[in-house]
Symmetry: C2
Subunit: 349 residues, 2 copies
């Protein structure tokens, strides 16, 4: 995807180092973070320098490759086992993290070069999957559609293209008029900060929507479709995604609007039976209680935005039941959010 | 209600001046704004120094009394007409603003003293109504209940007690254990700033909830009831309230949870047939794009919190259809959100 008309990927690997866009600095500053070790990359995942289902997967794969690159020959396997444990402990909900870590771990047992090749292959695959999701998704985007999306499931959340935004980009590039309502997505505002920045760079018309305003716009007939990403899809079609996704899905059902989830097959977790079995990450209260940003002069500040003496809850994700999902846009086609459709898809893979 | 164990009302009138808590400074600073003229009070309503359905009503009544106090004898009636127009132009959605302005205007035509007496009577009435709403509402609050509320419909939104929070205060004071989940309520965060501050001062256990997390907590069985306030209740029971109320009502319906609206009879507008006829205020984009607050050292900053080059939408209210409302807790009792129940209530008044 493009920033100021130059092509970028969200994350790439070069000589043992992982380079990634510093997403915490966006939209105020476009800068890069360089990770010199797998532990650096773990920190980057934890602190959300890199975030988003697919990008976390790519980062985890690269972290595992870094571990292979760093591991002392005398203690190679044990180093890999420890690294795998550390990487998997960064964030519990995103399925792609576990998917990529396992794949690269298995190759790393064969050798360093294999680990790096596998991590690169997974990142390339991730970019290609995004494009294919976009192509399938574009078939259901009609000219003039007003699409609501939640959080950031664009190219910053993947290696390229994205999941929920890929259909939007391909629709726009194919000449369709689209308008995107971007949920702000408190507490970390990935919609208002990242998705809005992406769409702006791509030239796609959009407006930031306070999270509270989605149902109101639906009630006024101003939204035609909702597309969101996914952090993990259970075997029965339940979907874990950014907190607030569930509320949009319920509202879309109430107003009979199509509600699509977009994700590559690697986000489907056949070992998780239903949404109830998905571990939901609880993040620090400071994310709700404080906000960072820049003033009109460009100076950075972190301010209290709520009553400091009060407590808060901060679940990072919620689970949308399959019954609320119109369909899942995957890199292999659009399917129902059902156990049979998902298992058929994985078999066909 | 109490702040640091001292009793306060949100707003009061003294010798032509209106004193009101500076709500934009909360929760970081407890200070007072003094309005010296009706135009000052109009500015205070517009800029949300004072806000909340009942408090806006009291402020509008006092503004009208100030106009009577200021009006030159030679041009008394014309001054009142102009003032009424200015006051009614401050904010379009809150019914209590129009209710109080009309009442005080009619008394002002009789004389200055009558105007002031009527404005004082309306403010007293507002405080009493809050207490009665609390008494009726307390009958449906069970020991141990976890109640979600949206925005601020506590004593800061009224002269005293509040609407949605009045049942909570009376339940807590009568010895019931209650826990309040306080929706942050972006963009202005009246939940996280005002409701949390109020509950903290009253000692009621609570937690701030990102607006996105309501349905997730409902899905986990962590919420027993939702109570919100109202800015205007149409004749058929549709309710205009802070943006996001509709989304909570839809989610509560989906999870079969009781969803109550609390408001004095003065919020019912028999001249507005349905929710479609309610004028919804659109507020400035800066409310969504920027946030103000204080850093750890107590210095105030206003920062950009979203992508500055993107646009946004900022409807201040939404309309919840009567079909989603379990009941309306009024100062005359708890009634159905239906045309017949509302018209009976107004007749009985």
């Amino acid at each position: 995807m493009k920033v100021n008309n130059k092509h970028f990927r969200t994350i790439y690997f070069d000589k043992g180092k992982v380079h990634m866009i510093e997403q915490n600095a966006l939209p105020f500053e476009f800068s890069w973070f360089t990770s010199k070790s797998y532990k650096d990359t773990c920190m980057a995942i934890k602190t959300m320098i890199i975030r988003g289902a697919g990008a976390i997967g790519a980062a985890a794969g690269y972290a595992m490759a870094q571990a292979a690159h760093e591991a002392p020959s005398a203690d190679y396997n044990q180093y890999l086992v420890t690294a795998r444990h550390d990487i998997e402990a960064t964030r519990p909900t995103a399925q792609n993290l576990f998917y990529a870590t396992e794949k690269v771990f298995n190759e790393a047992l064969k050798g360093r070069a294999q680990a790096i090749a596998e991590a690169r292959r997974l990142a390339d695959e991730n970019a290609k999957e995004g494009k294919r999701i976009g192509e399938y998704g574009n078939t259901i985007v009609k000219n003039g559609m007003r699409i609501e999306t939640h959080c950031n499931a664009g190219w910053l959340a993947f290696v390229d293209y994205g999941s929920a935004l890929a259909p939007v980009y391909l629709a726009w590039d194919s000449g369709k008029a689209v308008f995107v309502y971007v949920d702000e997505t408190r507490p970390r505002s990935q919609g208002g900060r990242l998705t809005a920045w992406e769409l702006h760079n791509h030239g796609v018309p959009h407006a930031i929507l306070p999270d509270n305003a989605g149902a109101a716009l639906m009630s006024q007939g101003k939204i035609d479709m909702v597309i969101v990403g996914a952090d993990r899809i259970a075997a029965n079609g339940d979907v874990a995604n950014k907190i607030g996704t569930l509320e949009k899905a319920i509202a879309a059902k109430y107003y009979n609007l199509p509600f699509y989830v977009a994700a590559p097959c690697s986000t489907i977790d056949p070992n998780t039976k239903t949404g109830r079995d998905i571990v939901i990450e609880k993040r620090d209260a400071s994310e709700v209680m404080k906000q960072c940003g820049t003033d009109d002069k460009g100076n950075k500040h972190t301010i209290h935005v709520n009553h400091p003496a009060s407590g808060c809850v901060n679940p990072a994700f919620d689970v949308t039941p399959a019954t609320l999902i119109t369909g899942i846009i995957t890199d292999k086609g659009i399917i129902d959010a059902s156990e049979s459709a998902l298992s058929n898809l994985l078999v066909s893979k």
